[in-house]
């Protein structure tokens, strides 16, 4: 058995991604087929955000990865050899 922390984190990730998937699927695939006066639309942002939010999140992810790589490379640089 994995440790309790591992199990909590692991199943938490599963639950989070499931919720995210269901919400996003309803937002993108199901809402266009529901009449615009139905009450369910109040739980969802306007559809432009369904594209903007993932794109911005992806860009932020790339930004953090780039910053991480830059920091690691900066720490590992060797000082230039001094010539006598």
């Amino acid at each position: 058995m994995a440790t309790a922390t591992d199990q909590v984190v692991g199943f938490g990730l599963v639950a989070f991604s499931l919720v995210l998937f269901v919400y996003y699927t309803v937002w993108i695939v199901i809402l266009p087929f529901i009449d615009s006066d139905h009450g369910i639309h109040q739980y969802f942002l306007p559809r432009e955000y369904a594209v903007i939010i993932p794109v911005v999140a992806g860009l932020l992810l790339l930004l953090f990865i780039g910053i991480f790589i830059a920091i690691v490379m900066w720490k590992n640089r060797k000082p230039a050899k001094k010539l006598d």
Partner: protein, 92 residues
């Protein structure tokens, strides 16, 4: 053809099919709600794939079994190796 070539070919086919339906001249012939679903479809597939990856990582993290005896044995090996190297003169 290499695997990369196959993947790129498949992506190009799907991409051009999507572009033809969503952006192209067939536009008015697709019913409006289907069009609204079709336009964000690439991003939707990307997000769905990301969710699947996250769920897989989380599930495998939760179900990976600890190996107590193997961990203890490994620590033993580490201790023995350190003692041996220290004896031969390597300083830690």
């Amino acid at each position: 053809m290499t695997k990369l070539g196959q993947w790129l070919w498949g992506l190009a086919l799907l991409g051009s099919a999507w572009a033809a339906l969503a952006l192209g001249p067939l536009g008015p012939r697709v019913p409006p709600p289907c069009r609204q679903v079709l336009l964000p479809l690439p991003i939707y597939l990307l997000v769905a794939f990301g969710c699947y990856s996250l769920a897989t990582v989380g599930y495998r993290l939760a179900t990976f079994n600890d190996c107590e005896e193997a961990a203890a044995e490994l620590q033993e090996h580490i201790g023995a190796a350190r003692a041996d190297l220290r004896q031969r003169g390597l300083r830690f």
